[in-house]
């Protein structure tokens, strides 16, 4: 036995000298005399596919139920209980994954990447709320989205922050969406998932930073209702624009507004538009002047944004794995620790030529340069649109929900004394 051990040891040393290439049968499988049977390697299966069909069914049922509760029953109570169920299912049971917000990234990747295969369930999670919104307004936000439901539960003392601040903070989702798409198209990262504040709470395993982020959102959400939905959610940008043209949006009053002003302060999201009964508040000349100013401003803002974006392309690309690896290989003196990183060690072990990596990295940098122009230009356009939007006054006689920002939560409906 001693001899055998020694022999084994020698052969180990020998094998080590040759190089530790993967899985070599250095020691033959023994032949057992004692009738020992080799145990089987257990390979537990993933979550059954049928359960994914259940997720999609729950989504569609919840969407239909909320829409029915909002538009037909006009009952805030029902919307509330459906949203609690959605929070329990999509939030705590499904742990926030699969979600419509993150699905933006999967769908974008499927369109731009040659190799990514999109699960059909994710496509349904992306599309179904958009189609429902086009027909009925943002009922998805009202009671299906677990993030919305979670924040809705804590909005105990909503305060108004004013239309100006609302409009300024409302630009953030556009910027978030732009960068999310940029990072997906360059196959860098899924930032919506990475900086998702609530998933860590749903799973009870948030990192300290994300826990802090979620805590700030939920605590501020007591006073500023739904801060994530209004000032961060990138999916909300799509829903907002589609909802503006929705076919059957929730009206505050079921028949004729009696101008009782009871609903005026009922909306915690400041999405109720007050009547504007003056037809032309400004003289024609000032309107024309403002119009010319906007026309001149738009190209300037787009160019400024695009130029800024393109100048930042190297900074933006730093988080890309291939770019940072190429950087480290080219400039080892920049590494603070003085020690080669695990990435570099792994890259050297893979045997891939460095020139290939450099070519890939410069291609990614080029994508970031073009992407920087497009993203920056888009953000410039959004800011221009925001400025232009402030100038428009629309004539209306009744209190109406702002179709873009209204979450169809049906709170205002409870305040309306007209019941039929």
């Amino acid at each position: 036995m001693k001899k055998r051990t020694a022999l084994a040891f020698l052969s180990i040393l020998f094998a080590w000298q040759i190089g530790s290439s993967y899985a070599i049968q250095r020691f033959p499988k023994p032949e057992f005399d004692s009738g020992y049977i080799t145990p089987e390697t257990l390979l537990p299966t993933p979550r059954a596919g049928i359960l994914e069909i259940m997720d999609v069914s729950v989504l569609l049922i919840a969407l239909s139920m909320v829409t029915w509760a909002v538009l037909k029953r006009r009952s805030r109570n029902m919307v509330f209980w459906i949203s609690v169920c959605s929070l329990a299912y999509f939030g705590f049971y499904r742990e926030g994954c699969v979600c419509s917000i993150g699905a933006i990234q999967n769908v974008t990747l499927a369109i731009f990447s040659g190799s990514y295969i999109l699960p059909w369930t994710v496509l349904v999670f992306f599309m179904a709320p958009l189609v429902f919104t086009l027909a009925f307004g943002r009922t998805f936000c009202a009671g299906v989205c677990p993030f919305g439901a979670f924040q809705d539960l804590v909005s105990w003392r909503p305060q108004k922050i004013g239309p100006q601040l609302n409009a300024v903070l409302g630009v953030i989702p556009y910027i978030y969406l732009t960068f999310a798409v940029l990072y997906v198209v360059t196959e860098t990262d899924f930032i919506i998932c990475r900086y998702d504040p609530f998933v860590g709470i749903f799973r009870f395993n948030a990192t300290f930073g994300m826990f802090l982020f979620a805590g700030v959102l939920l605590l501020s959400g007591i006073f500023i209702a739904r801060p994530y939905c209004r000032f961060l959610c990138p999916y909300g940008v799509l829903l907002n624009w589609i909802s503006r043209f929705s076919r059957y949006h929730l009206p505050i009053t079921p028949s004729v507004c009696i101008q009782c002003r009871l609903c005026e302060d009922s909306c915690p999201y400041e999405a109720i538009e007050k009547p504007v009964t003056v037809k032309n508040p400004d003289a024609r000349q000032t309107v024309v002047k403002k119009f010319i100013l906007i026309v001149l401003l738009f190209p300037f803002l787009i160019l400024l944004g695009g130029w800024t974006g393109s100048q930042l392309h190297e900074t933006l690309a730093k988080v890309n794995g291939k770019v940072s690896l190429a950087n480290e290989l080219l400039h080892p003196e920049n590494i603070q620790t003085g020690k080669e990183s695990v990435e570099v060690t792994a890259f050297r072990a893979s045997g891939k030529p460095a020139s290939e990596l450099y070519a890939e990295a410069s291609e990614i940098l080029r994508q970031f340069y073009i992407g920087g122009w497009i993203s920056g230009g888009f953000i410039g356009l959004v800011i221009g649109g925001l400025l232009a939007g402030r100038l428009i006054t629309r004539y209306r006689t009744d209190f109406e929900p702002n179709r873009g920002t209204c979450f169809s939560c049906a709170r205002c409906v409870d305040y309306c004394p007209v019941k039929s």
Binding site: K29, D33, P39, Q105, L118
Partner: protein, 195 residues
């Protein structure tokens, strides 16, 4: 006059609204068609390719789950049942026993049982395993490489973006159809009928 003007505006608005609805529908249909070309019927799961793995130890630390959903899996069919197991003992261990100070595993998740002279069976207690890959490194360097890291699909949350995949230095993670979730490498893998 007032009335007819109002009616006209409503009409124009209605016309614009209808037009916008139609164009949004078209756009959504277009996106669906573009994305549907790359749609798979099956669900997808994260898979780790042990042939690419460099045992950096990030599987233990990067996973959103604690302990990680990545565990060391023992492919018994490949194992040499060595007395001096490179995955079990610390290097330079002289006395081959089950004493804690001789073990490589930081959580003592590997059980060593005597089969017959001079063979020992090594079993992994997955409740204790944290997926650090220390034993995998030892076994790959000195033995047959029968210890391999794998994503345990019953434990994995199947995040949209796997946090380990993002941090993996050797690009060993990929999304694969759920019907074929495990990828064991080397001799014996064909016995398990996986590759």
């Amino acid at each position: 006059m007032e009335k007819s003007e109002k009616g006209k505006i409503t009409c124009r608005r209605e016309f614009l609204r209808k037009g916008a609805q139609a164009s949004i529908l078209l756009a959504l249909g277009g996106i669906t068609a573009l994305a549907a070309r790359r749609t798979g019927g099956d669900g997808y799961v994260w898979q780790m390719d042990p042939a690419k793995c460099t045992q950096c130890g990030r599987c233990a630390t990067s996973c959103v789950k604690s302990p990680s959903a990545v565990k060391c899996v023992h492919v018994y069919a490949m194992c040499g049942y060595c007395d001096l197991c490179g995955g079990y003992f610390l290097p330079e261990t002289k006395i081959l026993d089950t004493a804690a100070e001789h073990q490589l595993c930081p959580t003592k998740a590997i059980k060593r049982t005597f089969i017959e002279d001079p063979f020992f069976q090594y079993t992994i207690d997955e409740d204790l395993c944290i997926g650090c890959g220390k034993c995998v490194k030892g076994c790959g360097a000195f033995g047959n490489g029968s210890l391999q890291l794998q994503v345990r699909q019953n434990l994995c949350d199947n995040c949209n973006e796997c946090a380990i995949a993002r941090n993996c230095p050797s690009d060993a993670y990929s999304r694969v159809p759920a019907g074929n979730p495990y990828l064991l490498k080397g001799i014996g893998a064909e016995i398990l009928d996986i590759t």
